[in-house]
Subunit: 361 residues, 2 copies
C-alpha cells in the first residue's frame, strides 16, 4: 500500500539530507525564526523525510508553515507562558507559536520533570501544527525514557454511528529505547488512515481501501473507490462498529482529553477556532527498573517479533519504527527523493526570500 | 452485535446487586481473602455485571478466580513489595496476588502520587488477572483525576503479517470525570474483539464478524463464520494492514512496554510463564487546570457527541461509558440477569464452601 503512494522514479530528484536541512533552516530564519529554533525545526521536517514519513515532511508541510508565518497565523518568535506547574506537570500557553518549533522544548521540560519525579506530563494549548509527533516521543527515548506525544487536530472524524465530524485524527506517538535494535517508535492517527493519505491517494491516482472514509451521511464507505475530490470525513480506526471503530473512536477521545481538556482548552467540536493543543509524556525508565535490563529486554522482544514466521504472502514481520529506521539508513546514504514539483517550489521560494538555492544531488 | 450475545430471557434469573455482592464477598472470604479485599473484589466483579460487561463479571470470571485460589495459583493474602519508588512512580512485585484484588490499592497509591506531584504511574509484576480494568481508571476519575489502566495478557494476538501469537489483547482503560454527564470510561482490548467475545459467540451460536481472528497460518479471516471450537489467534484492532491493523499492533506493544517492560518483567513472547503485569496512571486535573472548568468542558464535549446527528440506520451517537452507565442504572433498579447455569454453579459452590446461598429476585 505504502509503495503505491511513493513518488515515481521519473518524477524524483534526490537531495542530500544535510543540504535539505540547511535550506529549510534558512527559510525558517527568513521568516523570522531564531537560528536555534530554525535548526531544530529543520531537523523535525527532514527527519520525517529521511524516515519515509512524507506526509509530515518537507514536501507536504513546509509551504504551509511558511504561508502561516507570512499570513501572521503563527508567530515566528512566540513567548510561551507556563500557566500551571507542579513537580511532575506543566500546562503551557504556546502564544500562537508553530508546534514543530515548540515540541522539542516542551518535551525537554517533560523529560526534566521525569528525571526529577520519575514521570512528567506537559500539556500545551494555543500552539500550532505539531508535525511528525513521533519525533518528540523519540527525543525522550534517546534520553533513556519512554516517551509519548499526542496532538488534537481539525474536525475530520465522524464518531461511530455519527454523521458529522467531531474530532481530529488525534495521533498518538510512543517511543521506547532498546540496546542494539532500532528503537520502537509508534506514531499513528487514531483514524483508519491519516488525512494526508487521502490527498496522496488523490495525487497519485490510487484507490482508497474500504473503511477509510464516510459517505456525507456518515455511512462507512466499505468498497475500494477513488479518493474524493472535495471534502470528506474519516472513519475512526476500525472502520465499522463490528470491526472495532468504537475503539478507534474512544482512543481519539482519549487524545482529546489528554491534549485539549488537560490543557484547559475547549475541543473544536465545541469551539471551532480553538488553536492546536498537545500533550507530552515521559516515563524515566530508571525510576521504574534497571535501564540496562530494560534495553536488553526490549532487544529480546523486538528480535522475537522480527523472527516471527510470516503469514503466507508476506516477507517478514515488522515492528513500529523498524521500516522507518531502514528507510532512514538508506536515505542518509543515498539522498531523499523529492518530487520535481517540490524542487520547483524550493527554487521559487528561496529566490523570493533571498535564501541560497537548494542543492540537489 | 452486543445484543446477539446477551443471555436469552428464558435462561435468565435476576439477582439484586447487593445480594450478589454479599455472596461474592463471602466466597472470597471462604478462599482466605481478607474482609476488606473480599468486599473490594466483589465490587469490581459486580460493577462489571451492573454495567453489562459480562465478559469480566461474576459469571465469566468468578469460578476461575476461586479455582486459582484453591489450586494455589494465587495467594489470597499476598504481601506486595515496592521494588522501586520515586515521588511520582512505583514498581510493585505483586507476590502472586489476584489482580482484581490488587488493582484498587495500586491505583490508590498512583492517585496519592498524582496528588503530590501532579501525575503518578505505578507498574506491577508477578500479579494475577486484573479483570475489568476500567474499574481502576474510574477510581481515579471519581477522585478528580484522569485515570488509565493497562494490563498485559496471554499470547493471543498475531502481529500484522505474522503467523504466531506474540502478545495479548492488552487492553487500555481511560476515565475522565464530568459534572452532570456520566463519566467518560473507555476500556477496550487492542484486538478487534476481546477474546471472551469468541467464547461468547460460540456459546450463543452467533457468527464472528470479518477481521476478528486469524487462520492458523496467520491470514486474517475476512468473512462471517461460526466461532472456532478449538484454539485460535486474534487479529490486532484494524484486522488487516489496509484497514490499520499495524496501528492496533503498535498499541498492543505500547501496552506491553508500559506494563511488562516498565515493571522490570519479560514479555510472554520471550518467557512463556511470565506472570501478569499491569500499569496504573493518574493525572491530577487540578495540577493542569481548574477542575470545575475541566468538568464543565467535559459536559459540553459529551453532550455535543450525543447530540451529533446519527448516520442512517442508527438511533444515536454514544460515547465510551454512556451505554454502560445506562445499563447500570437499569440493573441497579431491576436486578442483574444471570444465566441459569451460573445460578446452578452458585448453588453448588456456596454449599461446598459453607457460604449462605445466593438470594435471587
Amino acid at each position: 500500500m505504502l509503495e503505491r503512494f511513493s513518488v515515481r522514479a521519473e518524477d524524483q530528484v534526490l537531495v542530500d539530507h544535510e543540504a535539505l536541512r540547511r535550506t529549510v533552516a534558512d527559510l525558517f530564519v527568513a521568516c523570522g525564526v531564531s537560528d536555534d529554533d530554525a535548526t531544530a525545526g529543520a531537523d523535525v521536517l527532514v527527519t520525517a523525510d529521511l524516515r519515509g514519513v512524507e506526509t509530515h515532511g518537507v514536501s507536504n508541510m513546509l509551504r504551509q508553515y511558511i504561508g502561516w508565518f507570512r499570513d501572521g497565523v503563527h508567530k515566528p518568535s512566540p513567548e510561551w507562558t507556563i500557566v500551571h506547574e507542579t513537580r511532575g506537570t506543566a500546562t503551557i500557553d504556546g502564544d500562537r507559536g508553530l508546534g514543530i518549533l515548540q515540541g522539542g522544548p516542551a518535551m525537554q521540560l517533560t523529560i526534566e520533570k521525569a528525571r526529577d519525579v520519575g514521570v512528567g506530563t506537559v500539556t500545551m494549548r494555543n500552539s500550532g501544527h505539531l508535525g511528525p509527533i513521533g519525533h518528540f516521543a523519540y527525543q525522550a527515548a534517546e534520553q533513556g525514557m519512554v516517551g509519548m506525544c499526542m496532538t488534537a487536530s481539525s474536525l475530520l472524524i465522524v464518531p461511530t454511528f455519527g454523521a458529522l465530524p467531531r474530532y481530529g485524527t488525534n495521533p498518538i506517538a510512543f517511543a521506547a529505547p532498546a540496546r542494539s535494535q532500532p528503537f520502537m517508535l509508534f506514531d499513528a492517527a487514531m483514524s483508519t488512515v491519516a488525512s494526508n493519505k487521502i490527498g496522496l491517494a488523490r495525487r497519485v491516482g490510487a484507490d482508497m481501501e474500504p473503511g477509510w472514509i464516510a459517505e456525507p451521511d456518515g455511512t462507512p464507505v466499505m468498497e475500494e473507490r477513488p479518493a474524493p475530490s472535495g471534502s470528506f470525513s474519516l472513519l475512526p480506526l476500525g472502520g465499522t462498529r463490528e470491526q472495532g471503530s468504537h475503539k478507534g473512536y474512544g482512543l481519539g477521545l482519549l487524545v482529546e482529553v489528554m491534549t485539549t481538556l488537560l490543557a484547559g482548552a475547549v475541543p473544536r467540536m465545541v469551539e471551532r477556532d480553538t488553536k492546536p493543543r498537545h500533550s507530552f509524556i515521559a516515563y524515566n525508565v530508571a525510576a521504574f527498573t534497571d535501564l540496562d535490563q530494560f534495553k536488553d529486554t526490549m532487544d529480546q522482544m523486538l528480535q522475537t517479533l522480527t523472527e516471527t514466521p510470516p503469514a503466507p504472502g508476506h516477507e517478514r514481520v515488522l515492528y513500529p519504527g523498524l521500516p522507518e529506521h531502514e528507510t532512514e539508513m538508506q536515505r542518509r546514504a543515498n539522498g531523499i527523493p523529492l518530487h520535481r514539483e517540490v524542487i520547483d517550489w524550493f527554487s521559487g521560494i528561496t529566490s523570493e526570500l533571498s535564501v541560497a538555492p537548494l542543492v540537489t544531488l
